[in-house]
């Protein structure tokens, strides 16, 4: 919201030497964030008022006029102008060379220079209002109609900013920082805040002068929880006309467009007090004012031309028959101020903030009135607003007369009184304040501060109405008021005193980090994040039953309404997207998935769904055997690096996304906790994963059992060297490595699979398996004969059990 500094100073005399920088700083630190300050005169530098001395047609251009203009210099200057409304003795705005204007009111400002126009040198330009940013204040018919300043009496050469009284600072305050301060949505509220900050007297606002006792006016409030006070003030003898310049100027400076005197008065009142008001043409109001809920389907055409279809959730202002305004947001077109209006009902009311906000949102109407009503205004402020309105109407329209006045107030709101122990303030503030010091910070803001008759160390604090709309009701709120008025910058850092009891040990948290770091730093995987809502395509590709997924009521898009019960769909999408740039990759994600069910992490009454932390990883590449073995190896090594109980593999429950053959369940402590598998052809097809192979891991991280401490154990090094022997054996295709492993494991010190081969030189029903063993003795170095005998023993056993045939063996 914009504030005029001159306007604020009508209510409080601020220090003469106060700079805008200091003011912005003080307000920002204590109250609200000042986003910007700008002097309106700055944009009008080198623009002056001038009088047209003579006019001549341009000899070479029909549409241009050569003007001699008195700009306060000893001699008139020549300016070539395309304006259509030029006249001798007309007063105009002259942009002298060096000033900034917008050509035809568009684009960025450009600097005016002396220019030769069709052979005649022009000393600057005569401006249309839009060219110098004053269009809303001086609306012209088009950009060729120049601004007529004849009614201004200033002598030629006077700076335009001075002529138009534009030497004013405009403060722009961040609206977000004012959401909880409805009292600041008018100039008087900000003036009060500044009066407290600078310890200056706040001047009172005018109160209503009711010269005679006017009669009442019928007002009915049907929904007292949505409107607890409604003042209707009826004025007659009005005349619809433009406002005087000073009023137009005030509105324009803070961003409102002047409209006509009656509407401008209502806006002025709002800009002073923060209380929105509205005027109805009394001639259109049948019998009485009724505040009620709209009827479903009721229609209302608004002042801005929009046509609303109302519902029972909307609150409307009606007369005996019809709705005339959407309460607190905007008036209807038919019955608000009209050019023929001579009698007006001025509305001052307090509407429920939530009702206002929801109506505004439903109908997409953000208005100055709505923004204020949804923050909440206090009922007392309505009296202030009436005082300001009454005075202004009398001042502007001498014939105006208050003919009726009704204050319908079914509910009186009371404002809290808070007991605050001084000790509470002193401990929490970290400094010693006495009664007087606290009173000195609070009283200028309008708080009543009194000693408690029973307990001297307690303050009784009465909250002013304008702060009692939910903003302040606890000792902590008072603490904040005191602290911010002292100034947060005046509190030094107090190092907290902390008791150390024990070292932090959080095994599950540590394990999760260890997994992530293992995958990233050792195993070469890239961590990714995906959204928890899953696109239907990938849900289907992963063959996950949508019925077993939670859904969002208002999802980001219709096809992403399901929440993930597995990380696999997200992996599929990530693989598919990255395949455009990479033909191989290793990625993982570790996060939470959800399923229908019941969990109570904090209390019985709260039943949350089931949530588990899962890990998904994918190895993508051309060779299916390689990607699968890589993925398997990652899981085989993980328990050792991450320090959890061992992981094993079985085939028990195949997930639907897994290949028919190549899949394994991961087992920890006899429980299946996940799967490693190649993606099935079907899944890859549905997920648009083409021309590549992917091994995917998914496992439940919460089922891993972290070890209490590192369990790598030392084994003494062999005293005598071990002998390394490689074997290559030919066995039936269906023989598993596990069978070979089981045979040799008891016979050797250690062993390792090297490779498996099928193809040329190997019969169709056979495969060649190569492995390495280490043999040795604790007591002596083996001789060549002993080594050979040992090798023969191994081969004999394999031949006997598996029918294997030696292809080669070497050491």
């Amino acid at each position: 919201m914009k504030f005029s500094y001159n306007w604020i100073r009508e209510y409080v005399e601020l220090p003469a030497n106060l700079s805008m920088k200091q003011l912005s700083y003080d307000l920002t630190m204590r109250t609200v964030e000042v986003e910007n300050t700008e002097n309106l005169a700055d944009a009008l530098d080198q623009i002056v008022i001038g009088r047209i001395d003579s006019l001549e047609s341009h000899p070479q251009a029909d549409r241009l006029t050569v003007c001699k203009v008195d700009v306060g210099l000893p001699e008139t200057v020549v300016i070539v102008c395309g304006g259509i409304n030029l006249a001798v003795d007309m007063k105009v705005a002259v942009a002298l060379p060096g000033s900034m204007v917008r050509w035809h009111g568009e684009g960025d400002p450009v600097q005016v220079k002396k220019t030769v126009l069709r052979g005649i040198e022009s000393y600057g330009m005569i401006c249309a209002s839009s060219e110098i940013g004053l269009h809303d204040l001086f609306p012209g018919s088009d950009d060729r109609e120049i601004m007529d300043l004849t009614s201004f009496e200033s002598p030629s050469g006077t700076a335009l900013a001075e002529v138009l009284l534009l030497d004013d600072q405009i403060l722009e305050i961040d609206n977000k920082s004012m959401t909880n301060r409805p009292d600041l949505w008018g100039h008087y509220g900000l003036a009060r805040e500044l009066s407290a900050i600078y310890n200056k007297q706040l001047k009172p606002l005018p109160t209503a002068v009711v010269a005679h006792t006017p009669s009442g006016f019928p007002v009915e409030i049907d929904e007292t929880d949505r409107c607890n006070r409604y003042i209707a003030a009826v004025y007659s003898g009005l005349k619809y006309e433009p406002s005087p310049y000073w009023l137009q100027l005030k509105l324009w400076k803070v961003g409102l467009r002047p409209i006509n005197n009656l509407v401008d008065i209502t806006n002025y009142v709002m800009l002073v007090t923060g209380q929105p008001t509205h005027g109805f043409d009394k001639g259109h109001v049948d019998e009485r004012i009724v505040v009620r809920n709209a009827r479903s389907g009721e229609k209302l055409e608004m002042l801005d031309g929009s046509k609303l279809e109302l519902s029972e959730d909307d609150l409307v202002i009606c007369d005996a028959n019809k709705p005339m305004a959407l309460a607190g947001i905007m008036g209807g077109k038919a019955d608000s101020i009209l050019p023929e209006t001579s009698e007006m009902i001025l509305e001052l009311a307090k509407f429920d903030p939530t009702t206002t906000r929801r109506s505004a949102q439903r109908h997409g109407m953000r208005t100055e009135a709505g923004v204020r009503n949804e923050k909440g205004v206090d009922a007392e402020r309505m009296d202030q607003a009436f005082g300001v309105a009454d005075q202004l109407i009398r001042e502007l329209i001498p014939g105006a007369k208050l003919t009726a006045y009704e204050d319908c107030r079914p509910i009186h709101v009371t404002y809290p009184e808070i007991k605050v122990p001084l000790s509470f303030l002193n401990v929490r503030l970290g400094r010693e304040l006495d009664f007087n010091a606290v009173a000195a910070t609070l009283k200028p803001l309008g708080f009543g501060v009194a000693g408690n008759s029973e307990d001297e160390s307690v303050l009784n604090i009465r909250v002013p109405s304008w702060r009692g709309t939910g903003d302040i009701d606890l000792p902590d709120d008072i603490l904040e008021e005191v602290a911010r008025m002292i100034g947060y910058e005046n509190f030094d850092f107090i190092p907290p005193q902390i008791t150390l009891e024990r070292a932090i040990r959080q095994r599950r948290i540590e394990t999760e980090r260890a997994i992530k770091e293992y995958l990233a730093f050792r195993a070469g995987f890239q961590e990714i994040f995906t959204y928890p809502w899953i696109a239907d395509q990938y849900l289907k590709a992963a063959a996950i039953d949508p019925a077993k997924c939670l859904r969002l009521a208002t999802p980001p898009s219709p096809e992403t309404s399901h929440l993930r019960s597995s990380l696999v769909p997200g992996m599929l999408e990530a693989i598919a997207r990255n395949l455009r740039y990479y033909d191989s990759m290793k990625i993982y994600e570790l996060t939470q998935v959800y399923e229908p069910g019941i969990s109570n992490p904090s209390e019985e009454a709260e039943t949350l769904p089931l949530m588990r932390r899962k890990l998904a990883a994918a190895v993508v590449g051309k060779d299916p055997v390689k990607v699968f073995r890589e993925a398997k190896g990652v899981i085989e090594l993980m328990p050792r690096i991450v320090q959890t109980e061992a992981l094993n593999f079985i085939q028990k429950d195949k997930p639907d996304w897994a290949d028919q053959k190549v899949w394994l369940n991961i087992v920890s402590c006899d429980r299946v906790i996940g799967t490693i598998a190649l993606l099935s052809a079907q899944t890859m097809h549905s997920a648009d994963i083409r021309k590549t192979m992917a091994a995917v891991i998914e496992l439940d991280v919460e089922e891993l059992e972290p070890l209490p401490s590192r369990e790598n154990k030392y084994r003494p090094l062999p005293q005598l060297p071990l002998v390394e022997q490689d074997f290559s054996i030919l066995v039936d295709r269906n023989v598993k490595w596990r069978e070979i492993e089981d045979l040799i494991s008891g016979m050797v010190r250690s062993y390792a699979f090297i490779e498996e081969y099928t193809g040329k030189q190997v019969p169709n029903d056979k495969k060649s398996v190569m492995f390495r063993v280490w043999i040795g003795s604790d007591t002596k170095t083996l001789t060549a004969e002993e080594i050979d005998a040992e090798s023969q023993r191994i081969l004999k056993k394999i031949r006997k059990k598996l029918g294997g045939e030696i292809r080669q063996s070497n050491s």
């Binding site: 920082s177 947060y488 730093f521 961590e527 990714i528 208002t554 929440l563």
Partner: protein, 363 residues
């Protein structure tokens, strides 16, 4: 091969003269070629030529036996001294050659890039999160992880959000289908912020407490380069007796000093959030201009980085703590924005893109 002829003294004298001259010439020739030998192989060839089994000097030494004893002695001494000199020269040259030589023969292009170890990386947000965890860990803060689905009770009610607060509506928060028309503990949503986790933790562990609880939160909104529906926050809370808000700066500084790697000036100013009282907007001094004002800080000299404040009494009550006894300080910072500030990422949507071209930049 030269054979001495013993039968003629005159010839013998001539031979002796010739012999001596020949030996000296051989010595010079040999030492000259040793000095010029450019490789160990060339040196070896020289050694063989003179000192090998059939080398020139070896032959002379072999022939010494047939000379008269007197001559044998004189010529023998000369030959042996030459052998010794040559051997020394060869050894010296060999040392020099070893000292000067490279293990690589021929050209080696040092500009060819190294072999980079194959590695992945943590997501940049995880990196930032772990950096902060480490900093807080060093001050005895625990790490807490709340579930991502919460209820209106913990997301709003316990946090002192007024009943009609706009954030409770479906245009702001992702409510779960089937619960959206319930209230309180029965109305479920993807958590809109982390603060609810503080109540869960305090309920479970009581006070005093020091903990951080990073995580992803969700807002129903339209996305652009600066707005996301899923984003990461980092929240820290300290709860203790007689705790002044003036101590809260510790949390702020811990984060900023870690992120920016140096002491960062901060200021706390008035700010409003339902779950704190007093509440603050916390600014850091602009690192670009040092507080003088520049484009980055919109000429203010300060950049708003996080909100914070003392837990509202209603929040402490909801957590089962007596607000007259306990106080504390919250801070909450957007991890996405911190990473953007630290790395220059200009579109918040990149973080959930899973795009490896982006993520691999953070190795």
């Amino acid at each position: 091969m030269i054979r001495p002829m013993s039968y003629d003294w005159g010839v013998f004298v001539l031979w002796r003269w010739v012999m001596k001259d020949k030996l000296l010439t051989m010595q010079n020739e040999c030492i000259e070629s040793v000095t010029q030998a450019g490789s160990e192989q060339a040196l070896e060839e020289i050694r063989l030529k003179f000192l090998g089994k059939r080398g020139e000097l070896t032959s002379i030494l072999k022939a010494l036996g047939s000379l008269p004893p007197e001559e044998r002695k004189e010529t023998g001494m000369l030959a042996n001294s030459i052998k010794s000199k040559i051997t020394t020269a060869i050894e010296a040259r060999e040392q020099t050659l070893i000292a000067e030589k490279s293990v690589i023969e021929g050209e080696f292009d040092l500009t060819v890039p190294g072999l980079i170890p194959e590695s992945g990386s943590l997501h940049p947000i995880t990196q930032m999160c772990y950096d902060l965890n480490d900093a807080f860990h060093s001050m005895g803060f625990e790490v807490f992880a709340e579930d991502e689905i919460t209820s209106e009770l913990y997301g709003f009610d316990h946090l002192n959000f007024p009943p009609a607060h706009p954030a409770r509506e479906s245009m702001d928060t992702y409510w779960l289908e089937g619960s959206e028309n319930e209230t309180g503990a029965k109305r479920l949503c993807l958590r809109p912020h982390l603060t609810g986790a503080s109540v869960r933790y305090l309920k479970k562990h009581g006070a005093p407490a020091r903990f951080v609880y990073p995580g992803r939160v969700y807002r129903n909104e339209n996305t652009d380069a600066r707005h996301e529906r899923a984003f990461f926050q980092y929240e820290a809370l300290i709860v203790d007796r007689n705790f002044s808000f003036a101590s809260g700066k510790l949390l702020v500084k811990t984060i900023l000093d870690k992120v920016f790697g140096r002491d960062v000036d901060v200021r706390m100013r008035a700010g409003f959030f339902p779950f704190v009282e007093p509440g603050f907007e916390i600014d850091m001094k602009c690192l670009v201009c040092g507080g003088k004002g520049c484009r980055v800080c919109k000429h203010v000299g300060w950049i708003e980085v996080m909100p914070g404040g003392t837990p509202h009494p209603n929040v402490l009550k909801a957590a089962g703590l007596d607000p007259l006894e306990w106080s504390g300080f919250y801070i909450n910072v957007g991890l996405d924005r911190l990473v953007m500030m630290r790395t220059g990422v200009d579109d918040v949507r990149m973080f959930h893109s899973a795009d490896l071209r982006f993520l691999s930049q953070f190795k």
